[in-house]
């Protein structure tokens, strides 16, 4: 197949070792790719919406993850197919950019591919389909802007934010106490948010989990937790108004970087060295004490002797604290990380109102709480739950909720959820299609149909008749000219999503449509797949 002849009629090889490769061309390649993309979307389709189901994923090492977060499912699925990998990337980029809607974007892309397949069968050129999709996505995004609403919230009025987070959380297993978790997430985001610059640094929010207790015990700590305990069992367990020295140097005699040897050949030298060593320890502890520190947090370990000296001088210490945690502590307490004892000064100490050690359950698990920090903006969400999988899933859910709250602070436009935005877009795109002359019209119409698939999946997962429900809602939207009608997943009794307080961020929705269109365009443009054949 990949054999060509030069002007002298000699054959030369274009593709090396071609008998070991398989090749798909033209319409076959497109169809194969589309079916792969659809297969991935099919897996996620049942996870969409508040009544979506979970998946069990078993990793190569046998660990079990239970989740319905699209990005997590795809990431752990260990996908082999190239096109399927594109879909995984798609979900991941939605996760990075927006943090929520990772399932919806894949379902959307799958629907677009399905429609494209039909158009291909009719003999429409893939590029024309791609262009039609592109136009349609522009119409949809503009329409979203059109139907979006601004909503107001402030540090005092957090209710709208909480509602949005609740919409996100309602599709997760934690929906039993979504109100509680949504409030925690919103408070956490608001406490680190810079409302003037409209920016939120999510790094300042640490999400920690510990197995045990129940989900309702999850709490927001205005401070930091560290999974460590005091280095000496008899050090005080609670320190008020702590001044914290944050060290990255070990409590040990210094180690020069250059290679050296200290030779001991006389008794005097032996003794001087010994004294020197003792002095080192003494000096180190004294330095910390001199600058007024009441707590030492060290990245490295320290010697038993140093430990006792610290204990002796009434200076509590924590050892083996990880680098990331150390940085967080430094940010939270307003201290500086000190790499050498000589550089310790009173200004470099961090401050915290309360440091305490807390123990859990019947095992000797202890954690250190650093609260009321000088820079109170760093917060920790501390999750409790029945088992490990529950905690992991709660962490993911909280992450989604945090992202949503952040997006709202960045841009406070919202669209209504429950599939209402998609239905409204579908109507708008359908109406716009007729204005375009040429083959693209078909592609635009197909796009409108694809948009319908998200509310359709929602209805399906909620146990409703998908086609009946969708057509009813659609006609209602057109009749009342009201874009807020959606699928009533929770069986509340009303279709008006504004009454149900179900909404999503505008940028999240726009991003979903744009990303899905982009990936589909990319897949459609492939007309040749060359891959090494199996073994």
């Amino acid at each position: 197949m990949a054999l060509a002849f030069d002007e002298y009629g000699r054959p030369f090889i274009i593709l090396k070792e071609q008998d070991q490769k398989t090749r798909l061309r033209g319409i076959d390649a497109q169809k194969a790719n589309i079916s792969a993309g659809k297969a991935v979307a099919r897996i996620l389709r049942t996870s969409l919406g508040p009544k979506g189901m979970d998946k069990i994923l078993q990793s190569p090492d046998g660990d079990v993850t239970i989740t319905n977060d699209g990005a997590t499912i795809l990431e752990q699925m260990d996908v082999d197919n190239q096109i399927a990998k594109l879909m995984v990337e798609l979900s991941r980029s939605q996760d990075y950019e927006i943090g929520d809607g990772t399932t919806g974007v894949v379902v959307m892309a799958g629907a677009l591919l399905e429609q494209a397949e039909r158009l291909l069968e009719r003999g429409i050129h893939p590029i024309r389909i791609a262009e039609g999709y592109e136009m349609a996505s522009r119409i949809a995004v503009e329409h979203l802007e059109h139907i979006s609403q601004k909503f107001d919230f402030g540090a005092s009025n957090i209710e709208p934010l909480v509602q949005t987070c609740m919409t996100t959380l309602s599709s997760k297993i934690v929906n039993r106490c979504k109100r509680h978790l949504a409030e925690i997430s919103v408070k956490a985001v608001l406490s680190v948010a810079d409302l003037e610059r409209k920016d939120v640094n999510l790094d300042m929010i640490k999400v920690e989990g510990k197995v045990g207790g129940k989900l309702e015990d999850t709490e927001l700590i205005y401070g930091i937790t560290v999974d460590k305990d005091m280095s000496h069992p008899q050090m005080p367990k609670q320190i008020e108004d702590a001044k914290i020295a944050i060290l990255t140097c070990p409590f040990e005699p210094p180690k020069p970087k250059t290679k050296h040897k200290v030779d001991i050949d006389t008794v005097e030298k032996f003794q001087t060295l010994r004294l020197q060593e003792q002095k080192y320890f003494d000096d180190m502890v004294q330095k910390c004490k001199d600058v007024g520190a009441t707590l030492v947090i060290c990245q490295w370990g320290f010697d038993d002797e140093a430990n006792h000296l610290l204990m002796h001088r009434n200076l509590p210490a924590v050892r083996w604290v990880g680098g990331v945690e150390l940085e967080l502590i430094a940010i939270a307490t307003g201290g500086r990380i000190v790499p050498r004892f000589q550089e310790l000064t009173p200004e470099k100490l961090g401050r915290a109102g309360l440091v305490r050690e807390k123990s859990f359950g019947t095992t000797k698990d202890k954690m250190l709480y650093i609260e009321h920090c000088a820079n109170s903006r760093a917060v920790t969400i501390f999750i409790r739950g029945g088992n490990k999988m529950m905690i992991e899933e709660t962490k993911r859910s909280i992450h989604d909720a945090l992202c949503v709250a952040r997006n709202l602070i960045r841009n406070n436009s919202i669209v209504y959820g429950g599939g209402s935005a998609e239905i409204s877009c579908s109507i708008a795109v359908e109406a716009a299609a007729d204005k375009y002359p040429g083959v693209e019209q078909y592609a635009i119409r197909a796009f409108a149909d694809a948009l319908d698939s998200v509310p359709m999946a929602l209805a399906e997962n909620s146990g409703l008749q998908p086609i009946e429900t969708l057509s009813a809602v659609k006609s209602q939207q057109i009749k009342d000219n009201n874009p807020h009608y959606g699928i009533d997943c929770n069986d509340v009794g009303t279709n008006d999503m504004r009454e149900q307080d179900v909404f999503e961020t505008l940028i999240g929705k726009q991003q979903q449509i744009l990303l899905a269109t982009q990936v589909v365009k990319m897949i459609l443009k492939i007309d040749d797949v060359i891959s090494p054949s199996d073994y």
């Binding site: 897996i43 994923l57 046998g62 260990d78 069992p233 060295l273 002797e305 088992n387």
Partner: protein
């Protein structure tokens, strides 16, 4: 459901230790099941995917198999299991502790793993009820399976279960007894709880004795949940009845040669310091000499250093020195000369506990003797238990810690006794904090089932089926207890249900006489905290498994053949 295979596999093929649950599911879990295989392969080779009904089936079967495995250990007449490890020596454990059994299983079924996890968490959080939580979760799933077969959507079942769990919890809350104010009554409550917990274990023969031990030990903690302070020493020999609680502290060490065997009014220095060669810790230091005489000199200096250290230690005015690390012959000799008892190599927990008991601090430097807090005790002596010599510290300052010495016929008995005692101690220490108490013997389950049944009658819609199922799952627990005791469960549970129809009934299953009895009179109690944790975790786990509609298993990581 049969053919559970746990061991008998070479270690390097650990991932082969699959739970063969039943031949039917086994064929589903074959990697060949690809619904779109004809079109395109998405997942890697060997990875498998199960969808919808089949996925649900696989998780139900897995969870129910686990439940059936531990079911027979429930209750006072529950049976034990022998666990044989795959490691070297094929060690054997005999136990009926749910958490211990489940921990040692190698399981491939994801739903089964969820159940094992909740049992582990129950163990960590409250210490007891590890079997009950698994059994309840399994029964909930068994009921759910029937409902799913009757075409009720899992989401409906979940919302029904949630309502039922909330209702059951409220029912318990209404019936709890709290004797916090009355110390005398509270102590008898504790005693009852301990007896109830122990009655299902190997210690049931001497449960009064051990319940007394456990209550005494926990009361000494004065509300702290730190079980570290209770030391359990196991010595084979004698019978279980010979076990005793010692108010002082026992260290499983020998006294050095030539040192006093008995010290009164001991002043103890607890230390963690090197008493061997005490290296110079400055980096890169080494000894380099050019003649034999210099070696001797340096050796002398080293000895001098050690002598100085010992002198400093002596300067504290002590007559007993306990070190975590080794003590070499030379310093030991010095200590013996000074008439001081030196104990080496006490493990870290031992040191911490000793410091806690005697009120001393753990020292590592000895330059300022005036500010180091020393530990005190009235008497140190060497005692014999069986054939071993132990060091006994009595008359200690802080009364918090104590030691329980367990005696028994074999290591297996002792291990199991320790686990049972640990369960009892955990439950008691949690009860001291949360003093609410319930009756036992299937009483709480019946109370909950009654309330949940009421709720089911009031609830319109499909949910009521799920709520009813929840109550059936609750009743399964007394049924299993009765079955395990070889009683006619159908008859007993029916009687029990009739009894519970009256207001304020205290009826439960009296396993000993094989009839329905008054639990308050029989003195069978359980901690509210344990029951609540069982209820909530089991519902949570059942819900989690029910929500699943797809299982994707990655290709197992390839392991190199180390043969």
């Amino acid at each position: 459901l049969s053919g559970i295979r746990i061991s008998d596999f070479p270690k390097h093929r650990a991932y082969d230790q699959v739970f063969f649950l039943c031949t039917k599911t086994q064929s589903y879990s074959r990697p060949s099941y690809f619904p779109w295989r004809c079109i395109e392969k998405i997942l890697k080779d060997d990875a498998s995917e199960e969808k919808g009904e089949r996925a649900r089936m696989a998780s139900f079967v897995g969870a129910i198999a686990i439940t059936d495995l531990v079911k027979t250990t429930l209750g006072p007449k529950g049976m034990d299991k022998i666990l044989q490890s795959t490691g070297r020596g094929h060690e054997v454990t005999v136990t009926n502790d749910g958490a211990t059994i489940l921990k040692s299983l190698h399981i491939d079924n994801p739903a089964a793993k969820v159940l094992i996890d909740i049992s582990k968490v129950q163990d960590d959080e409250v210490g007891d009820g590890t079997t009950s939580v698994v059994v309840l979760a399994g029964e909930l799933l068994r009921e759910a399976e029937k409902l799913v077969a009757a075409k009720i959507h899992p989401m409906t079942i979940i919302s029904g279960y949630r309502m039922a769990a909330e209702c059951a919890r409220n029912a318990l809350l209404q019936r709890v007894v709290d004797n916090k104010e009355n110390a005398e009554k509270f102590k008898s409550d504790l005693m009852k709880i301990a007896m109830t917990t122990l009655s299902s274990k190997i210690l049931s023969q001497d449960k009064e004795h051990f319940a007394q031990l456990a209550v005494d030990a926990v009361m000494r903690l004065k509300g702290s949940t730190n079980l570290e302070a209770i030391q359990i020493i196991k010595k084979p020999g004698g019978s279980l009845k010979d076990s005793f609680l010692d108010e002082g502290f026992i260290l499983d060490k020998k006294i050095g040669l030539g040192q006093p065997k008995r010290i009164e009014n001991a002043k103890i220095l607890v230390a963690n310091t090197a008493m061997d060669t005490d290296k110079v810790k400055i980096y890169g230091a080494r000894v380099r000499v050019d003649s034999m005489s210099k070696v001797a000199e340096i050796e002398g200096a080293e000895k001098e250093k050690m002598r100085e250290k010992v002198k400093k230690i002596l300067g504290h005015g002590i007559n007993c020195f306990v070190n975590r690390q080794l003590i070499y012959n030379f310093p030991e000799e010095l200590f013996a000369d000074a008439g001081i008892l030196a104990i080496e190599h006490a493990d870290f927990d031992g040191i911490e506990r000793l410091a806690l008991v005697t009120g001393g601090e753990i020292a590592s430097t000895f330059d300022n003797p005036e500010s180091v807090k020393l530990g005190h005790c009235k008497l140190i002596e060497e005692i014999m238990i069986g054939e071993d010599k132990l060091i006994h510290f009595s008359g200690v300052e802080m009364g918090q810690a104590c030691t329980i010495v367990l005696r028994g016929a074999s290591h297996h008995v002792l291990d199991e006794a320790e686990r049972s005692l640990h369960d009892a101690l955990c439950v008691l220490s949690q009860t001291v904090n949360d003093t609410r108490v319930l009756l036992g013997g299937g009483w709480p389950e019946m109370v909950m089932a009654k309330e949940v049944d009421e709720l089911a009658r009031k609830t319109p819609g499909k949910k009521s089926h799920a709520i009813e199922a929840f109550s059936r799952a609750l009743v399964a627990i007394p049924t299993i207890i009765a079955d395990n005791a070889g009683l006619d469960s159908a008859d007993l549970v029916a009687k029990l249900r009739a009894e519970h129809h009256k207001e304020g009934c205290n009826a439960g299953i009296d396993v000993i006489s094989g009839s329905v009895g008054d639990m308050a009179e029989l003195g069978i109690s359980e901690a509210f905290k344990v029951k609540q944790a069982v209820l909530l975790s089991a519902t949570e786990a059942a819900e989690m498994i029910l929500r699943v509609d797809e299982i994707i298993t990655c290709a197992p990581r390839k392991r190199e053949d180390r043969m």
